[in-house]
Symmetry: C2
């Protein structure tokens, strides 16, 4: 999840002066685990989609992005071990939702793959970064580290901007694609939350209440629009 988020979504927990969610909250293990599975799936998704790259340069760029995702996985693996959790057992409840997301948003072109990398992961990053705001500093640091931009978005932004500047139909097609990514990501995020009580509790604690969650999703949509604009979409 290497995509960059527009600075500050402006969402804060309903009471930002409240104590942070304790590091031993059971949902923290779930949060690290869903992030870890996200990273390892992103590694394989990127590696697969690299076959769509028209150039060897593109393939190398994608390999670098994939390796950055793996480095994030390692950080989460260490954080889970430090909590006494086994990364594979912890990830198990989340594999289905993330696999479904990737299956339902399988890019058919190189540009779709690049937009998915940038926009899809950006949506996820916004979500997790907001939750991080309510976590204790040590836990938040892990989340922010693994969501940090890995310096590869520049490559993606240039590839996409060039293509959509040159072709109106490509732009229309990718705009629709971006909208679909947002829809699928939100569907799966809701599914993941509903799946795991501990994680639901953590998200509720982080956002304040159900209204807080609604506000978070609204802000994710505006951040998504900004990100699409950066791509020329």
């Amino acid at each position: 999840m290497g995509a960059q988020s527009p600075a500050g979504l402006g969402v804060t927990p309903s009471d930002s002066s409240a104590s942070p969610i304790p590091a031993d909250h059971a949902g923290v293990t779930d949060l690290f685990a869903v992030l870890a599975y996200g990273e390892i799936s992103a590694f394989y998704r990127l590696s697969e989609e690299a076959t769509l790259s028209p150039t060897l340069r593109g393939k190398v760029a994608v390999a670098r992005m994939a390796a950055a995702e793996l480095a994030h996985f390692e950080r989460l693996d260490a954080a889970l071990s430090a909590r006494g959790a086994d990364v594979y057992a912890a990830m198990a409840p989340f594999t289905r939702a993330l696999d479904d997301y990737h299956r339902s948003t399988d890019p058919s072109t190189w540009l779709e793959s690049m937009v998915k990398f940038h926009v899809g992961d950006g949506i996820a990053a916004d979500f997790y970064r907001e939750i991080a705001g309510a976590l204790s500093p040590d836990v938040a640091a892990v989340v922010r580290d693994v969501l940090a931009d890995t310096g590869h978005s520049e490559f993606v932004v240039e590839e996409v901007r060039r293509a959509v500047a040159a072709s109106r139909s490509e732009r229309d097609r990718l705009t629709l694609w971006g909208r679909r990514l947002l829809g699928e990501a939100i569907t799966q995020a809701q599914y993941v939350m509903a799946q795991r009580d501990e994680l639901t509790e953590l998200v509720l604690a982080a956002t304040g209440d159900l209204n807080g969650i609604a506000t978070l999703f609204e802000h994710m949509q505006s951040a998504h629009a900004e990100r699409m604009a950066v791509l020329g979409l």
Copy 2:
């Protein structure tokens, strides 16, 4: 190319007191380039073959191996840049031979994939390490670094040993597979050398003469047999 070589094949250039091949030999760029393409192909081959893994643990192990190959690619990319060469242009003459090798040795099971990783890359590593012995120290250091064992072979050895200890037919099948890998690797190595005059010259200078090359291939075969034995094959 992360596989480990049995220590010392005992091949030395015909006159080991001769000065090393100068760092500005045109074949050095070719050597770095073929290694670089080998690493990037290995990255993608591993990532693809990970779908054969029966477990998520296996998938993560393979992602780690792939990321180690990419780190080696980065080292070669830097070494090529330092020589004023563009990595993509330099790799172009070698893509066909390496792609052909991978196409002709496409694993159909997880165990075949693991044997290919360990044995196939081991064969290549033996070849390049022997050449390195005749190179100037700076150049040899790059070659040895990128062929260094990345600490993942233990995982592979255990997976394969366990499977072949449990099944005689699996053992027979994988023994044949290992033999095929050796044949294909030698075919492609000869093709690569014949393709590029500068590289042929460098290999000849490193091994002494045509007899030296024959001796090198013989030693590669015994090293291969040792490596198969380690796997229980």
